[in-house]
Symmetry: C2
């Protein structure tokens, strides 16, 4: 069994309205030291495959097909083996 963590963020060039709203909210709560906020997705997927390579390949396909929008988002995948 493999556990994958997929982190999906807007590309640097894409505006992040949710991050911007949180930035303003933090400022208005008095956190003057905040410089920038970006909000993305953190997806944990458990996969029952034989090898880490297979897990990574499947995850990449899932990201391109469903999880991320490659036009405006970047993703990265971290796979680790876990107890079944």
């Amino acid at each position: 069994m493999f556990k994958a963590v997929v982190t999906i963020n807007f590309k640097k060039s894409i505006l992040d309205p949710q991050g911007n709203a949180v930035y303003k909210a933090l400022k208005s709560l008095g956190y003057e030291s905040v410089r920038d906020v970006r909000i993305g997705k953190h997806i944990e997927v458990n996969l029952d495959v034989e090898t880490k390579e297979k897990a990574e390949a499947e995850l990449k396909e899932m990201c391109d097909k469903l999880l991320a929008n490659p036009v405006i988002e970047d993703y990265y995948i971290e796979v680790s083996e876990v107890e079944a």
Copy 2:
């Protein structure tokens, strides 16, 4: 300048409807090996403070006040120093 990554997930005991929907979508796309999907938030915050300890303390406060809902969510914070 410090860069913090805050990861926010539902507690294990809380249902994750978004994760469940993605799980079903992956199954219906033919990914039979998928066992579980949980979806959380990945927040990047840049902070202009003097020390790492101060950054961590401020982040913790921000999470409790605004970023996370401690009743149903767990969060963890990773702070690293970056170039200003």
